[in-house]
Symmetry: C2
Subunit: 413 residues, 2 copies
Amino acid sequence: MTREFFSVKTVAEVNAGFRPARRTVVEACALGDALGRVTAQPIVCAHDLPGFARSAVDGFAVRASDTFGASSSVPAGLTVLGQVDMGSSPTSIVLAPGEAVAIPTGGALPDGADAIAMVEHTAPAVGGTVDVLQPVAPGESVVRADEDVRAGTEIVPSGQSLRPAQLGVLAAAGVTSVAVFARPRVSIFSTGDEVVVPETPRLEIGQVRDATASALAGMTHRGGGTPEIGEIIPDELAHMRVSLQAALEHSDLIVVSAGSSVGARDLTAEVVDSLGDPGIWCHGLAIKPGKPTLLAECGDVPILGLPGNPVSALVVFGLIGVPLIQQIGGNTRPTPAPRLPAVLTRDVPSAPGRLDVVQVRLGQSTSEACEAEPLFAKSSALSVLALADGQIQVPEDASGLYAGAEVMVELHG
Amino acid sequence: MTREFFSVKTVAEVNAGFRPARRTVVEACALGDALGRVTAQPIVCAHDLPGFARSAVDGFAVRASDTFGASSSVPAGLTVLGQVDMGSSPTSIVLAPGEAVAIPTGGALPDGADAIAMVEHTAPAVGGTVDVLQPVAPGESVVRADEDVRAGTEIVPSGQSLRPAQLGVLAAAGVTSVAVFARPRVSIFSTGDEVVVPETPRLEIGQVRDATASALAGMTHRGGGTPEIGEIIPDELAHMRVSLQAALEHSDLIVVSAGSSVGARDLTAEVVDSLGDPGIWCHGLAIKPGKPTLLAECGDVPILGLPGNPVSALVVFGLIGVPLIQQIGGNTRPTPAPRLPAVLTRDVPSAPGRLDVVQVRLGQSTSEACEAEPLFAKSSALSVLALADGQIQVPEDASGLYAGAEVMVELHG
């Protein structure tokens, strides 16, 4: 009645070894829509930034040599020609020896000037002159024309999910359209004769509403993909085959969460086996929860078969599915999983030889660490999903963790 | 020429003390669009889940008393009545003493049965009977009807930004429309005669493209708000007054990043001062970079005045602006900032009495910590924005950090 798992792999072996070649197409994206989109090529700044020498302070543009030896008792008296206006080119001004120009922070350095005397180091003097009270070196308080970014510099690498600050850099460089990978289209199927859509107002005895698909859709969004929740497939081979065959046409990744019965667990493998080369890559993951995970490729579309219970499905999807979405969507620099240090409130037993993923709820926060309460429950318990703030991992070579241990909690955020 | 800052506050004082009463309206949101939306009331499960007693394993539904004393040598032989189908109510089956029914994981427990014998602890026998090889206790391997969630239990609290797993729980409970706070509308203005829109193909000497607005828009998205980038306001009081006055009508938060010149820095304060009660709450933050930060309320609309340079503006917006968006949008349970432990590669000097925020770039990752390289540059340097993976904080009471120190990096993700 139980099927032997073949080629059981660790999570690390899967992430290193299962590397589908499929990538999404490259498309243009407006800067305003580019948050979180993945760059398809390095982005280079076409010209120097700021592009002109500018003042870093409020003060007076001067010739540094005019200020050598200046002091409070013997200031350098300079004739003030006028002022530089923000955003304007001071082309009408050329500084001769003995002259100065008032300049605001960010103002363009006029011709002839090579340094700025900070306003705090000057004093107004009689007859349109200013006294400079200490010497300034050439280049002092001047931002060079290429100091922010030199022309030709890579400002964003390829394969990067764009962050807010990077949008700012692109805007500064005048890049308002970005070549990005299309979001991977992820088809999500739940299976099982007992599973009904969330909209079902009243359940019959024996029925459960589909929790997994909605959760996987949310995780897909977060991972940079576009989820498409497909129909709920009954435990029937021909039906599943038709559904998956159709999804192969328009999916970059297919995710099937199995029903909880034994027959349902085997169905996905049988169907995938029949859909073509190269077929099943591994069936069985050295992880709890999540052992009956299946990885395959049919044509060039990867297929991920998840365990039937929602907690297991989400754990495996986070460890295997989200990295797959990133890979297919060209994201070669995924942000490390957000983590928070915490102190375990209870012992966590674990069997060596497999990765244990334990859901935790965060308690009172101190400045650097908070408490992590392990949530033990039958793995089907939806309440675990509702309460968990994150999860911890007990590695393959460990045999559990003790209360009081410092752990890193991966946040579900 | 320089204006005195009045009522300088720490970031902690601002976050604790500046608490605008404004909240967005409550609206209905479909479950499929609810990722990251903030619940406006606690969500309660209307009925028990799973709602019927079900089997946690593959096996045989039995009367526990029939198995007492069973062993491999003296098994309990039970007559198999048939099988429970997934998703179906076994109403036609009532177990009498000495009877058993085959049942899959998740199948509904038939009347008369009170426990499940795991298939591994049974052996098929002759003539439609099964041998149970060890005793089972009442309730064994049975998930009670209210075991996942009891009717009336809160499954998601109020003020919670919905996570993928919570979408799953709501789906399981049949909640397909959720009352959420509307996303706060955040009007973003950049100011300065020198600032031009990112679409400007060629800059004149003295001009810079607006980097800040695009970056703030991205941070607003991430914080749960809807950004609206307004016009670039020249350094002219009447103009700014008209623009902000108009924005008050349709904004839940107004953000103004000042120009970099002294006149521009003062302008926002003057305009906000003229827009009405209660007006300016503080002008000056004990932080580097970001000192000239302004907080105000005009009517019931909070206004945040940011420093002119992009790095400073982003640092302050992350520490003050994003929490404001969450507050206005009803998010009372923001996810702790994602952090990653790292080891500093260089000394970071800091002046006591102010919070120093230092941008860092992450280096090689080991299993638990990676290297954090502080990015020092003139704070206007766009390259810092491009390179920084995150930031570290040097608290008010510290006078710097040494190379080799363990730090927590807040990721920009």
